[in-house]
Symmetry: C2
Amino acid sequence: MAGKLVSMRNLKFLLYEVFDVCTLTEYDYYKQFNRKTFDMFLDAGLELGTKLMQPVYEEMDRKPPELVDGVVKVHPQVRRILKEFGEGGWIGARFPVEFDGEQLPLQILSACNLIFCAANFSASAFPGMNSGVAHLITSYGDDNLKEKYVAKLLSGQWQGTMAMTEPQAGSSLTDLNTMAEPTDEGFYKITGNKIFISAGDHDCVDNVVHLMLAKIKGGPPGVKGISLFVVPKKRFDENGKLVLNDIVVSQVFHKMGYRGTPTTELSIGENDDCRGYLVGDEYKGLSYMFQMMNEARIGVGAAAAATASAAYYAALEYSRERPQGRNIAAKDPLTPQVPIIEHSDVKRMLLFQKAVVEGSFSIVMQCSKYEDMLSVVSDDEEKEKYALLLDILTPVAKNYPSEMGVHSTSQSIQCFGGYGYCEDFPVEQYYRDMRIHPIHEGTTGIQGMDILGRKVLMKNGKAFSLFLEEVRKTIADARDCSELKIFAEELNNSIERLQEVTLHLIGIAQEKGPEYFLADATLYLELFGIITISWQWLLQSITVDKALQNELSASEYNFYQGKLYTCKYFFRYELPKIEGLAKRLMDKDPLTVEMEVNFFSD
Amino acid sequence: MAGKLVSMRNLKFLLYEVFDVCTLTEYDYYKQFNRKTFDMFLDAGLELGTKLMQPVYEEMDRKPPELVDGVVKVHPQVRRILKEFGEGGWIGARFPVEFDGEQLPLQILSACNLIFCAANFSASAFPGMNSGVAHLITSYGDDNLKEKYVAKLLSGQWQGTMAMTEPQAGSSLTDLNTMAEPTDEGFYKITGNKIFISAGDHDCVDNVVHLMLAKIKGGPPGVKGISLFVVPKKRFDENGKLVLNDIVVSQVFHKMGYRGTPTTELSIGENDDCRGYLVGDEYKGLSYMFQMMNEARIGVGAAAAATASAAYYAALEYSRERPQGRNIAAKDPLTPQVPIIEHSDVKRMLLFQKAVVEGSFSIVMQCSKYEDMLSVVSDDEEKEKYALLLDILTPVAKNYPSEMGVHSTSQSIQCFGGYGYCEDFPVEQYYRDMRIHPIHEGTTGIQGMDILGRKVLMKNGKAFSLFLEEVRKTIADARDCSELKIFAEELNNSIERLQEVTLHLIGIAQEKGPEYFLADATLYLELFGIITISWQWLLQSITVDKALQNELSASEYNFYQGKLYTCKYFFRYELPKIEGLAKRLMDKDPLTVEMEVNFFSD
């Protein structure tokens, strides 16, 4: 399998033309870079994705990890991937130079990450976790933790994990039971069970470093009692030698997709000999973890978009090559068949995929840009602005690509017809891999409550206002482009509708309380997502409109026309979906709150 | 695994309360039945499903058929299933007594079939194919074919198949290449290749009977040249002994789901020794095949609905039992967690599944009722009415359950969270199994062109008018029920919207031709489907409204309230989706027609 994974042209369009990443190099922090060095990263990223990761995509699925005599055996290529990601500086690419990092803008790294996830999402998870774990330790850990763990994680010699979920506490972190008992020896004794821990252990690393949420004995109940610990599989003994730290893998889950990464259950401290090391202050675990979690959420959106991209290009290639049927107006059976891409219904399916993929890429890149701006601006108000924009867009950037990615890969299968359902083509695997994304790092329902119950209201609606301001800026710019005027007005109407719906829901909150307010938060998020991606399409199209004023080569002309048609597609086919959502959200019948559980009896 | 598959209460509600199947027993053809005998069939069907089919559901997936030394090895339970379906009279249940059938109303058989498909769709396909093949032979075959093949198919000793698709002709039957060369010995010599033939061969039967489309040498090109043949794996030689008939299985496809049924590729007549026997007249193959095809399409809808049902009940059971989180208004971490079914967002997901499942069951039953009426009415106009209603509703009954079943099983997974993605629970398999339904027996795109390009227009729109009449009858009845008035008006507005959209599209057909007319046929079908299922929900709710006037036991009260809330759900959450669809369909920008293939370049 060596199909196209992403459009490099599109990545460069987003980076250099839409988000203009090169302006970052005017800041001190990024001054070592220029367009040429950015391009080198992109080329290297593509090389890594296509040579190291894509070739084992199918194999890692067909031979998933197994727990054999207590050892989690994963595909041997994982060792090479971690090594090359470590040695090549990819794991630490965004880290400041003091951690031996590259200080690479997140936008460039995100573009590379899209390639990696498109090539092999399971494989990308191993180095990806390391980056997040190391980032959290450098942000909140003391020097001792930094010294012991960061280099090993960034080099890919050890594996990092995020150990939150427990059997009795999936979405409800309040109910975590893993306990940390203080000692006077500089560590805590940890006991508990964790489930669904990605890369929770495997045989391609020498050690595993869990960032684990636990409750300190005697602390406050609920989320207020949660602290964050580094809990290694092997700890250093008094001689600096690594010894086992009483963590046992009790299960490797068998999954429908995302099968290359072992998803594990861990028993911790069964022999009362598991040591954990506090990160930062006691009882602040959740807020620390949320740094990683928010990154991870955008990372999920990126992974979903990337998988949808690989599936889309597979469908596109097939649609170009597969002859079937004739133009509906000219059905002479003696004429040759045409490739199915010539049928309007197939073009519609492809446009849908392209719209979801490139719209999702765009919102991921938009978030990366805000993140990059956070690294360079010093003004408090500006810092707050970018932080709030990231806050409100995180659930969208997680959820839109995840939910729509499921539909997009499903349409990729549909382009193949019966062949898409067979293992001969990769789309069935993309479809299976995709289905994890609306679940992990906070389900769709959790994201809905996050945006409506928290983000829209936070700081008196400041994040929401900033978001609207960003959209309005794009609308104003688009009004100057003759082809885009009509879409600018439609987006303007949509954000008015969004405000109307939001006010209506806030009214319900005041009148009837949080349960009624949040009952349809998932639908609200869907509405918010469609409008956000419309904004991103309009934003891209302003660049397109300018480019089309120039003399262009045939391939460039086709590229920009493709963008323009996909923007049209989004506004004609996708944006109208907000009508039905808004109708429901404005409707006052609280039937999901009021339906009694007993009514589900039969 | 022994989860609930379907609600027997719901099946009886549909059969006896909504569609009143017992009125059929007033006709001569069905006079041997009564409510008690119908109930016996249902009980026996449930027994068969739960005892014979459901226990091997997972195993048939995990150990899919293999081609070993030219033999297609399937799960050994298939032999028992065919035998019991044969001996129990299930395969021939709808056949008239002259074929040793039971003359069972299709409504009762459809209800049983929903149970079988919910228990194990792959397993149900084997006897299901036999029934369709035998029905076609009895309808159009001569006495010789009837005598030789029908009894063997109905007894389950032989396997029947529908052999249409070829590698170069998926949806485009025009391009079939399988050839039939006439001889003067009463048979044709067949040569060609067929792919995606379900149950195309296996080791649990003594012979396989292919109903095969082929073109007679020298006949007209395209679909007009297609004839239908019985082509057995083994034919009778001059001594009445079975000998091989030169058909080889060249491949068994490996699929994402629906893995228990072997999907095969056949090489036919490689040694110029394959004999086929013409069914009916030359060149009428396609119209004959469409009898089976139309049944098969409603069968696909039924299978999709059934799988969604099994997944829904798995999700419902889990949601009742899984404690997680608390009421959003009362978050004291010291109180116990509540089952997730108490969260509004989970109730919404369950209502969605229930609405799709029971709405789909209802439309399948509605079609079965029309079919049953066709067996008893003698008046030509009445016959035409039921035939036309079946014609126009077949693409809906195929497509709505298939497309929405994908979403419904996806929501079943979502109720389970991470566990839903693991093989420990059956929902991931339901999700994989489901994905075939929008593909086989005519893809969603084909169904869209069928309803808009053929069914809506046929006989000057008579089928469409009859459909609207049926819906209006329900609206009129619902206006008398105080709780349903508002929904009656909404459905009325919807069918007005549907007419408006239809007229608009017919205008486009006249103005710009078929390509523009049919470009969004898939969206039109989606719109049509949502309105049709709204109608079915309103129809059910009229019965519910009456029932709720009476004194009821707690369980009956809960059942009817569950129905009422699900109807409300459908009108509040699903019907509004037509807004976005109608907006697009009324919009004149023909962008999918006009987008050039080159614009997909990058």
